[in-house]
Symmetry: C2
């Protein structure tokens, strides 16, 4: 177990020579793909162990014609939303025998190039929300790499999984109206992400249905600080009854802004968010819970299925694109208004 500074990386040839067999035999022993005499087998295993042999996946993958790896592309991991989705993805993917490559497009400008590069490293790819343009995504799919879109507008011929943003927003709108709120503002940038767009559209539709005018969205980023700043502006003057945050971070920012100017929630102002992050519970924030792990896990399974389909029969025409919308759940707490019974935990 001494950490020798060996000059050459250990290959299957080394092991073969050390054990006095051919590389074919080494492969068979290590993979267990064919019967090998017990004695030989033992020699090979001993050699592999002695040399700390770790097979190079590149060789294997190249020979097998598959990476045994999938990728997932997301904007970032700030806040629990993407982290949970990625975790759900990783769990499911690794159960299906694939390693997971991640790519955060976050603040990089060469996102498209990075995603294309990633596509060359994987058997299949999940692309989330607001990361790359449609042309890039479509191009990758056309190039033969199965793609699944997540929390994003569908594209022709590509599988898509989303949550019920618009519908949840309608439910939320109705709930707010029921509480007597009339002037409702939306904090978030519909152009910034498909999720936000759906939420805003649903909210607007819900308010219209109640005979109220659709609100103008107040554009802001998805972090607490951005929400706080935007809310501060909004609350300084002719303020609304309720603020619907594009996500919980933004809504929590709105709570801070309200506290800063001495407004009481929910008496003076209602606030709601999206995602049910841990902090929402402690802030008493009404929010919409999304099945984040489930989103990730479903995406992993879908990618896997596409890969399997193609492997089974590369010439068969592709099955039509699948669509799925996962349900969400309104979590009512005290920030949206007083309820008969005290708000749930």
């Amino acid at each position: 177990m001494k950490a020798l500074s060996r000059s050459k990386p250990v290959t299957i040839y080394e092991v073969a020579r050390h054990a006095g067999v051919s590389i074919a035999t080494v492969s068979r022993v290590l993979r267990g793909t064919a019967p090998v005499a017990e004695q030989t087998s033992a020699r090979v295993r001993a050699a592999a162990q002695a040399l700390h042999f770790t097979p190079n996946r590149l060789g294997r993958s190249l020979a097998e014609g598959r990476h045994a790896a999938n990728g997932i592309v997301f904007p970032d991991l700030v806040g629990p939303y993407y982290a949970e989705v990625v975790l759900g993805y990783e769990e499911a993917a690794s159960e299906l025998g694939s390693s997971v490559l991640i790519l955060a497009t976050g603040r990089r400008r060469d996102a498209a190039a990075a995603v294309v590069e990633l596509a060359g490293r994987v058997d299949g790819l999940v692309i989330m929300g607001n990361t790359v343009d449609d042309a890039t995504a479509a191009g990758i799919a056309a190039g033969g790499v199965p793609v699944v879109l997540l929390a994003r507008e569908p594209l022709a011929g590509i599988d898509t999984i989303r949550t019920r943003n618009a519908a949840s927003a309608k439910v939320l709108a109705a709930h707010l109206v029921e509480h007597g709120h009339r002037r409702i503002a939306f904090l978030g940038d519909p152009a910034g992400s498909p999720d936000v767009a759906g939420r805003f559209a649903g909210l607007a539709a819900g308010l219209r249905a109640a005979g109220l005018p659709a609100p103008e969205p107040v554009s802001c980023g998805l972090e607490t600080a951005a929400g706080e700043a935007a809310a501060a502006v909004l609350l300084d003057g002719d303020r609304p009854d309720a603020i619907v945050g594009a996500n919980d971070e933004v809504a929590l920012g709105a709570l801070l802004a309200a506290a800063a100017v001495g407004l009481r929630v929910p008496d003076d102002l209602a606030v709601t968010g999206w995602d049910d992050v841990l902090a929402a519970r402690f802030a008493g924030l009404t929010t919409v819970r999304q099945p984040m792990r489930e989103l990730g896990a479903t995406a992993a399974r879908w990618v896997h299925r596409r890969i399997a389909e193609r492997t089974a029969d590369p010439n068969r025409p592709l099955a039509p694109a699948r669509r799925r919308i996962l349900p969400t759940q309104l979590v009512v707490r005290r920030s949206c208004g007083h309820h008969g019974t005290p708000g749930g935990s």
Copy 2:
């Protein structure tokens, strides 16, 4: 841009044939590694685009002898801690030209095998906290794959990066004592993770230094629910003045448990955590902030450096193992006791 169901994946040979050149020329054009006549170059690019050619990274990596990918192993992504570390890692690694493979050992039992397998896919590897046993980690390093340990006890000959858990805990202990707390309980399992062990040890040392008896740790998981349950038991009877949670989730659980039995924080009970998650701010929780992204980014850079060293001169003996301890910061809020000025934001 029609999504043809092509039977064969596009290789460099296809492109070469389509453009009427040799594969060498295609490679040169696409990599830009050697001068190619403008006219030829244009033909090749056109062919590549027409065929949606995405070079297969396996071929390239095998030829180049490097994966251009690094891996990071962590327990899970629940809570912001690991997510932030991973994000910091991804950012730094991709800036250095490496893709990132992730592996969550979470609830799997074949963690060691999975990590070894991962080691065969990468040029270097970061192993976090409580994921695999020392022998596995050491074996991988001995096999020639550069390894960096993160938030984990050092091993001979392997680079290690940690945070100042014990020292921060001492500061925290002093602060609690200063508030007049005497009976201080620790919520967490020191055997469960090196971080927790360090925090407990530091707390115990700090209390000893103040002439107080070292507390027994109350073992519990790292989730809110676990903290709540453990705290509930702890508070039912001869209760402590203060509870130090192994992380914020646990501490938040303790807050819930306290509220459930009508205890006021901080008047009846002080509570502190670790990590400064978003919820801590809204719960007014005193906590210790860790440089999470910085941890990840530093790890990425160290792995990169090791790889570069080895590539530059494979025969040079390895530089001695490096150690680094990143600083933490005590974030005082109201949950630890009353302060002259109201607790920070």
